[in-house]
């Protein structure tokens, strides 16, 4: 399955995704998609740098479904995170 890398902004705790060129973005739709292991490795290396520079925390890679070129969450948990809000 394709992956994106997600984290929480260190200062605010808000959900962020690793986008292109090492930029952290708020919306999953702007996240960089890794479709194979080397691409994921590259994203994770980039993310680690952002952890060290205290930009983000709690980094992990997550599965996404790519629908019409856009990443979509595959679990309820990631849907809720991506919405930046509870469902209630």
């Amino acid at each position: 399955m394709p992956n994106v890398v997600t984290a929480n902004n260190l200062r605010s705790g808000a959900v962020v995704y690793l986008g292109s060129a090492g930029r952290w973005v708020d919306h999953l739709i702007e996240a960089a998609i890794a479709s194979d292991a080397p691409a994921l490795k590259a994203l994770e290396t980039e993310a680690l740098r952002a952890v060290e520079s205290t930009e983000v925390t709690a980094v992990y890679a997550m599965d996404v479904a790519v629908i019409a070129g856009r990443p979509e969450p595959t679990s309820v948990r990631e849907r809720i995170r991506a919405a930046h809000a509870p469902t209630v």
């Binding site: 200062r11 605010s12 705790g13 808000a14 959900v15 709690a58 309820v76 948990r77 209630v88």
Partner: protein, 566 residues
């Protein structure tokens, strides 16, 4: 209530200063997350799904109006204008930022509050009977002892790194309103043979993955021996608790592995080695602390109030509220008022900043400046004159806080679940909302009678589902949210862990399943005086199981069966 002395004030201010430094170092990169996480947790700061969450201690659930107003101010300034009252009588702010946390901690310290020991493997905030000091059935005010325990356990050097978290609950009343049998240590103030007071001590209760009802380790502990006895229990646990396995690390596992008799033997052996006079509370110190909790001098007031009776007669909603939410105070002419945070369709336990201010204002005007938080996630005004009930009610109506459902099926206890919580399997809040909507008719709710309904979003059981008359537990089944239903739990003196009734349901079938369970109870109860719990104990789970899953099942339940993962 208790007021900080110089020692307390200096200590809390010093901790706030330390925390500010720790946050600054984290933000500058001087501390890694691994180094910082235990420090932030020691100050109640978690990282949740969407933001940082700050858990603020409300010692034994007691708040002054000024403190509640300050919580409202914090909610407005640094959160999204609301807070979540929890089953541990605390409040959680769900949308805080790390960079704001030091300012919030300072604002708490300004009103003698903090977030110390609301997380981590230490003795957590002691919980107590929310009617402490005013209950008609009380032997002695447990707040004095709860405050003693707070002081004893705060940064106790030996008990700061226990095998796991440790929760103590205390009551001084005949009826258990603090769920003491579901705590690591439960304390009940009782009368001894000579009429003197002491403690009945229970140990090893808890919920989570392996629920246990606490066992009686001491029938009557002389009151002046409490601290050394607790210290002996803590020492045995600290030494032998399973540090190798987080799921087996709570004291309940140790007590059950050793057996109560062997555990008691070890505690007594340890107790005998302690230098008790250096640990036990000197009588003067008890007197000093007790002075803070001296009952308010209440003007004598008539128990009969013609205006109150007239209003009850003419206003059915008011009458229902008085019947359900207002209970007997130990002094005639006064009442205990329960404020429900469970308006059907709303989030159980949430209060907006405006609602907090409204309650604080009512407490100032009519409630001797006191508010309590209950583990059912509601608020209480412990002392209101009967003649002021109508004014309090009108104030609550204006604030959207007059729901008349205390201890009824819509008084649902629910954890934040997957909408906020990092550990959740499933959502809890929308399930609570849907069930409450099904039971929106207050007349129906009244006719069902007392019924505890509890929901947790995972097996950690923060929503006390094991102890619910009806319990709902969120589980993850191949990536979809499912809900397991238990029946027959009780958090009270007749404490019991609910029985799993059958295979789990998907979210959309849970409200229908609850309706089926309630309809079955209605059909089979002897009369309206037989509560759900009593009927369940007589009937067992068979008729409920049949109604939910059997051939004669109602349509909703049959559909649920098809969806259930058997």
């Amino acid at each position: 209530m208790y007021r900080y002395d110089d020692f307390d004030r200096t200590f809390v201010a010093e901790r706030a200063r330390q925390f500010r430094g720790q946050v600054a170092r984290r933000l500058e990169g001087g501390l890694t997350e691994e180094q910082f996480k235990p420090l932030r947790l020691q100050n109640g700061l978690y990282l949740q799904l969407h933001a940082y969450m700050l858990r603020v201690a409300i010692p034994y659930g007691v708040l002054s109006a000024r403190q509640l107003s300050q919580l409202a101010m914090i909610a407005r300034t640094w959160d999204r204008s609301f807070g979540h009252f929890t089953t541990r009588q605390n409040i959680q702010f769900n949308w805080t930022k790390l960079e704001d946390a030091p300012a919030i901690i300072d604002a708490l310290a300004d009103v003698e509050m903090h977030a110390i020991q609301t997380s981590g493997n230490c003795i957590r905030n002691v919980t107590a009977d929310p009617y402490a000091g005013v209950a008609a059935d009380e032997i002695e005010d447990p707040r004095v002892w709860a405050e003693v325990l707070r002081q004893w356990s705060s940064i106790h050097p030996e008990f700061t790194f226990l095998p796991r978290k440790f929760k103590v609950a205390i009551t001084g009343a005949a009826e258990d309103r603090a769920a003491i049998l579901f705590h690591d240590i439960g304390l009940k103030i009782v009368k001894g043979p000579e009429g003197e007071t002491g403690f009945r001590v229970y140990v090893g209760g808890g919920q989570g993955r392996t629920p246990y009802v606490g066992l009686e380790i001491a029938t009557f502990l002389p009151r002046d021996r409490l601290l050394s006895y607790l210290e002996a229990i803590m020492r045995v646990y600290n030494l032998h608790g399973r540090r190798d396995n987080i799921y087996k690390a709570r004291i309940k596992i140790l007590v059950n592995a050793l057996g109560l008799d062997e555990f008691r033997r070890q505690v007594e052996a340890e107790w005998a080695t302690l230098d008790r006079p250096s640990i036990d509370l000197p009588a003067e110190e008890f007197t000093r602390i007790a002075a803070y909790f001296k009952p308010a001098l209440l003007k004598a007031a008539s128990a009969k109030d013609a205006d109150l009776d007239a209003r009850r007669h003419s206003d059915t909603a008011f009458d229902r509220w008085v019947r359900n939410n207002v209970v007997t105070h130990r002094q005639p002419g006064y009442k205990i008022v329960n404020i429900s945070l469970k308006e059907p369709g709303k989030i159980p336990g949430d209060a907006s900043a405006d609602q907090m201010d409204a309650v604080a204002d009512l407490a100032r005007r009519f409630g001797h400046d006191e508010i309590r938080v209950t583990y059912q996630q509601n608020l209480v005004l412990p002392t209101v004159a009967s003649r002021d009930l109508a004014a309090v009610y009108d104030g609550l109506v204006a604030a959207g806080l007059a729901t008349a459902n205390t201890e009824l099926i819509t008084d649902i206890i629910a954890c934040p679940g997957l909408d906020y919580c990092n550990l959740a399997n499933a959502r809890a809040i929308p399930i609570a909302q849907e069930i409450a909507r099904k039971f929106a008719d207050p007349v129906v709710v009244q006719s069902i009678g007392p019924l505890r309904l509890n929901i947790s979003g995972c097996i950690n059981a923060c929503g006390h589902h094991h102890a619910g008359n009806i319990g709902i537990l969120g589980v993850d089944k191949k990536g979809t949210e499912h809900y397991q239903i238990t029946l027959g739990g009780s958090p009270k003196d007749d404490a019991a862990i609910g029985d799993i009734v059958g295979p789990s349901f998907t979210a959309e079938h849970v409200p229908g399943a609850i309706e089926t369970i309630v309809a079955t109870y209605f059909e089979l109860r002897r009369d309206s005086a037989e509560t759900f719990l009593v009927a369940y104990r007589r009937l067992g789970k068979a008729p409920f199981r049949d109604a939910l899953y059997g051939t004669g099942a109602k349509p909703a339940a049959t559909a649920a069966l098809e969806n259930a993962d058997v």
